[in-house]
């Protein structure tokens, strides 16, 4: 059972990773006896499982994901949101409008207008309908302050880190409130614009250097240097 790659190697589609009784993880497929990469990314081998963590790629919705969408249109009862994906998302107006009011009698633009950003959660996603969202819940809802930045959705797992270690580090060092949308949109709200700028800088650095080991130490060092100076 030869294995041709090691952890942290960068691979491109079609590269043969191993041969034999290994299990193909995400972005790896089996062609007969060979395991081949399916995207440009970094190899991770854990025991028998070989997976590729992509460096680039589109956002594919998943039920339960917290995402940030931008309103692009609305109909009498729904809002249509751009969620940085190849599918558009639907948010029922009844999610936003108070329950005692009649949705059809209301002017929807009063609550959310085109261009507004909303923190939502995916409640349904299948082949046969558009993505359904909800914005009822803790930390969900319309964004009215702070800054919204966009990064590569493939880098979101690195930005969050193992059990949220990376994002908690940034939150602690910059004292900002940060909501990471799985679709690559990130909302930052700090006590002043300097701390917001610092958090943004750290996130951009992760976006760029996510494939290089020792990332957490570098981010920690950078945050402490910037804060000191």
């Amino acid at each position: 059972m030869p294995i041709y790659v090691k952890d942290w190697d960068i691979v491109v589609p079609g590269e043969v990773l191993a041969e034999g009784e290994y299990i193909a993880g995400p972005y790896v497929y089996k062609d007969g006896n060979k395991l081949m990469a399916m995207a440009i990314g970094i190899v991770e081998c854990k025991k028998e499982v070989i997976k590729v963590v992509p460096l680039q790629g589109p956002y594919i919705p998943k039920v339960g994901d917290v995402i940030i969408g931008i309103v692009v249109d609305y109909s009498p009862t729904t809002y249509i949101l751009d969620i940085n994906s190849s599918y558009k998302a639907i948010l029922q107006a009844s999610e936003i409008i108070p329950p005692q009011r009649n949705v059809l009698a209301e002017d929807l633009a009063k609550y959310l207008d085109v261009g507004d950003a909303v923190i939502c959660k995916v409640v349904r996603f299948d082949k046969y309908s558009d993505v359904m969202l909800t914005c009822k819940g803790k930390d969900l809802g319309k964004i009215t302050e702070g800054r919204l930045i966009k990064v590569n959705p493939a880098k979101i797992p690195r930005l969050i880190g193992r059990k949220g270690s990376m994002i908690n580090l940034i939150k602690k060092e910059t004292e900002c409130k940060i909501v990471v949308g799985q679709n690559g949109f990130i909302w930052i709200k700090g006590k002043d614009s300097n701390s917001e700028a610092l958090a943004e800088k750290a996130i951009r650095k992760i976006d760029e250097e996510a494939h290089i080991s020792g990332l957490t130490q570098r981010i920690q060092l950078m945050l402490q240097l910037e804060k000191g100076g």
């Binding site: 079609g14 062609d31 081949m36 460096l55 680039q56 594919i60 190849s86 082949k127 493939a154 250097e209």
Partner: protein, 252 residues
């Protein structure tokens, strides 16, 4: 310049060299750059001798018009276009018959490599722009487009490498130029997935004997593997260099 008024054009000289001094089984230098277009999801530039090509990839994105969308997979669309200044005499910018056909040919050469089943109701759009044409443009377009697709992070089974084989003065030659294409006997564009060993494009303009065809395919396979190595290097370059810079910077 070649004098085309003479009856016979010499494409292979007495030393066995071609018009540009190459040996029959020698490729032109290939230069591949990745990520040159800011607004595209993935992009690449390929320079193969005087053939210069840009490829841009958008998607997976919503399909317009919507009735084209398929419920089980993404559709792949391709536009091959030659700029008016890419050839010796100005070409009208409107799509010609040839360009429409090449768009289809390139699309069909790329589609087997893309994992289209992952993106139902979506489209993946490939735009190929020929800046300068000097033979083998469809092959260089496939090379550029497959690198652009991979750099956009679209799941692919393999990269697609392509090259052309010609027959000039009864000799099989690799990577034909414009002049060899015009005055040669045969032009055979060829594309394959090098790791899987699957051929995705094989056209033949002219007449070849069976042994010659077999030899041509083996020549092209060898060349495609070389091109694949260059595609791989170009795709990794950006990431490897940044990693190197940081690791070396950390030491000092």
């Amino acid at each position: 310049m070649l004098n085309t008024k003479n009856k016979k054009i010499v494409l292979i000289d007495s030393d066995g060299r071609r018009v540009d001094g190459r040996r029959p089984d020698e490729m032109r230098d290939i230069k591949i750059k990745v990520g040159i277009l800011e607004n595209a999801d993935g992009s690449a530039y390929v320079e193969q001798g005087n053939t210069k090509i840009y490829a841009a990839v958008y998607g997976p994105r919503e399909v317009h018009p919507r009735h084209l969308a398929l419920p089980d997979r993404a559709i792949v669309r391709c536009r091959y276009h030659m700029t008016p200044f890419s050839v010796e005499e100005r070409k009208s910018p409107a799509p010609t018959r040839r360009e429409i056909e090449l768009s289809k040919v390139i699309r069909e050469a790329l589609t087997p490599a893309i994992v289209v089943e992952q993106f139902p109701f979506s489209s993946i759009d490939v735009f190929v722009e020929v800046i300068n044409a000097d033979g083998s443009t469809r092959c260089a377009s496939i090379v550029a487009a497959s690198v652009a697709l991979a750099s956009a992070g679209i799941p692919m089974r393999d990269l697609v490498a392509a090259c052309s084989i010609g027959k000039v003065d009864s000799v099989l030659v690799l990577d034909v130029t414009d002049i060899e294409d015009k005055y040669g006997e045969v032009d055979l564009p060829f594309a394959m997935m090098p790791n899987r060993g699957e051929i995705t494009l094989l056209q033949l303009d002219g007449v070849l004997r069976l042994e010659e065809l077999e030899k041509a395919i083996s020549m092209a396979t060898k060349a495609c593997k070389e091109i694949y190595e260059k595609q791989k290097k170009a795709l990794k370059e950006k990431y490897v260099e940044l990693r190197k810079a940081i690791i070396e910077g950390g030491k000092t």
